[in-house]
């Protein structure tokens, strides 16, 4: 197997007594879609935060495209092509949807020590932003303040902002959480179009979405990856069932 795009070795993160990431090893190949599943509080979001640079790992190594990025801060990792969406929607509510995405484009279009030309008139920023909105199906809502968008639309906006930075690695934290069935189907449809064009690490609880999108699945429990493999194998894996689906537990009373 060629050098993985993302290689994680022995990653640890502790908050006082709580061990959120307990020696995680993970490999993600170029243009692969790896789903990361596990019960609440398994440390999935903490892992994503460490991969994106928002949190600094206590120990371990993160290699991205052959470069050790463990100590790089979040902005540097973004500029190297790691983009992420947030589990709890994190956007710029006062700015319009188009402005939100244009900012993401601006971050990757040279430095922002420009004091003269209005950013709203820089075609180099607006057009790629509009294209990203188009891609996630929000083109009609471009001028609406992001704060006024519906929950589902805000999740789409998060995706558009991530895509606008033309990332190599997409870290998606529960993109369909809190969505109705048809909304989540549309989002899955959208994510399917991205498969192969970007390497994706997908954290998700919605099993339909997971099994529809994932090339491989890793299962995290109490900060540890207990199993990784093809979707079919994971579905049958006894340990996963016991730790995660909980079918085996004897009911005492």
């Amino acid at each position: 197997m060629a050098e993985p795009l993302l290689a994680v070795r022995g990653l640890c993160k502790r908050f006082g007594g709580l061990v959120a990431t307990d020696g995680v090893d993970l490999d993600v190949a170029e243009s692969e879609t790896l789903a990361l599943i596990g019960p609440n509080g398994a440390g999935k979001t903490t892992l994503i935060a460490q991969l994106s640079g928002e949190l600094r790992a206590d120990a371990g190594l993160i290699r991205f495209a052959g470069e050790d990025v463990t100590l790089l801060p979040a902005p540097a990792r973004s500029l190297r092509g790691i983009a992420r969406s947030f589990q709890i929607t994190s956007i710029f509510p006062e700015f319009s949807a188009l402005d939100n995405v244009a900012l993401a484009v601006q971050a990757h279009a040279g430095h922002s020590f420009r004091f003269w030309r209005p950013a709203a008139r820089e075609r180099g920023l607006r057009e790629p932003a509009r294209a990203a909105l188009e891609q996630v199906g929000l083109a009609a809502r471009a001028e609406v303040p992001a704060g006024a968008l519906a929950h589902g639309e805000q999740r789409q906006l998060e995706l558009a902002m991530a895509l606008a930075t033309r990332p190599r690695l997409l870290l998606l934290d529960e993109p369909v959480a809190g969505m109705g069935t048809d909304e989540s189907q549309r989002m899955v449809q959208l994510l399917r179009t991205l498969r192969g064009r970007h390497t994706i690490v997908l954290v998700e609880h919605d099993m339909d979405a997971v099994f529809a999108l994932a090339d491989r699945i890793s299962v995290m429990v109490y900060g540890r990856v207990i199993a990784t493999g093809a979707p079919g194998a994971i579905r049958e894996n006894a340990e996963v069932r016991r730790a995660y689906l909980g079918e085996e537990l004897p009911v005492r009373c």
Binding site: S78, H108, F115, A119, E122
Partner: protein
């Protein structure tokens, strides 16, 4: 992009300020010329604070330090015989920028209440430094024998000085408008809205916030240079923490996150101070509750009360 209502307000404001000297001369009331020039000078300081306070969300409680540094940058060279305005004002801008760089580099590592307190602390350090330097008058301060000498412009003439200050204010508002809507302004405003997201999409926000902090300090230094010429006097009390409080009041009273707001705030605060203190010695018992009312009810400040101010990025 500017809504019609707001364009009218802007024009009206400019006309009022432009016509004051003529009206003052007609009414034979030269005092109003000095009063409105003082308002404009504090408006420049308030607009510079609003760049980081209203737009950038950085609650600096020590902005008067740069007012003082700008004042010293005019009075000290003048004391040693250097009266050229160009030299003094450039020194005022550079010295304040340098101070803001040092203060910003340390303060921007903190957030919330700690940031408020550390900026206040640095300003108090400059205040005590000013008091203890006897060579420059210490706490008594120093008289400015001659106002800054500018090529072809005699600042001793009150009307000329008035229009110089008006030109600087209008220039600042125009440049500020360009800046706020350019890439740099977008980063500052977005960093206030959601700094974590900004870092996630690739902005190392610290350098931009520091740049804004330095820029605001530099402009406030210029206001300090003008203030020394206005009062023909330098005093370290320009840097006292209550002065920083007054500039903050002007920004909030006028309307944060807008350019015109602080100008209105400066005018309202200084006119109220002048009018109320003429009525009663206990004028602060009126000003105090008035500030509480403004915070509770006029959330977007006086600017929010004006027509056409609906657009947030004023």
């Amino acid at each position: 992009m500017i809504s019609r209502g707001r364009a009218v307000v802007l024009l009206a404001g400019f006309l009022v300020l432009a016509v004051v000297p003529a009206v003052a001369a007609m009414l034979n009331e030269p005092f109003y010329l000095d009063l409105f020039r003082r308002i404009m000078i504090f408006a420049i300081a308030a607009v510079s604070l609003d760049l980081i306070l209203g737009y950038g969300g950085m609650v600096s409680f020590g902005h008067a330090a740069y007012l003082g540094i700008g004042a010293y940058a005019v009075a000290v060279p003048a004391f040693y015989g250097i009266e050229s305005g160009l030299v003094q004002w450039t020194l005022a801008v550079l010295a304040s920028a340098a101070a803001a760089l040092v203060i910003g580099a340390v303060s921007l590592r903190t957030t919330g209440m700690s940031f408020i307190m550390i900026t206040l602390a640095f300003a108090q350090m400059f205040y005590y430094l000013g008091i203890s330097i006897n060579a420059w008058g210490g706490d008594d301060g120093m008289r400015l024998a001659r106002r800054s000498r500018l090529p072809a412009l005699d600042l001793a003439d009150a009307t000329v000085f008035y229009y110089v200050v008006l030109a600087i204010l209008v220039g600042l508002l125009w440049l500020g408008h360009r800046l706020v809507h350019a890439r740099f302004g977008a980063v500052i405003r977005a960093s206030r809205s959601n700094e974590t997201r900004m870092r996630a999409i690739g902005f190392s926000t610290f350098r931009y916030k520091l740049a804004a902090f330095v820029l605001a300090g530099a402009v406030c230094g210029l206001a300090g240079a003008l203030l020394t010429n206005q009062t023909d006097y330098l005093t370290p009390s320009y840097m006292h923490w209550t002065r920083s409080g007054e500039i903050m009041v002007m920004v909030i009273l006028g309307g944060m996150g807008t350019l015109v707001g602080p100008v209105l705030g400066a005018a309202a605060y200084l006119l109220l101070e002048d009018v109320l203190s003429a009525w009663t010695v206990h004028w602060q018992i009126v000003l105090g509750p008035l500030l509480v009312l403004v915070v509770l009810y006029a959330r977007r400040g006086l600017y929010g009360l004006l027509p056409g101010s609906a657009s947030r990025d004023g």
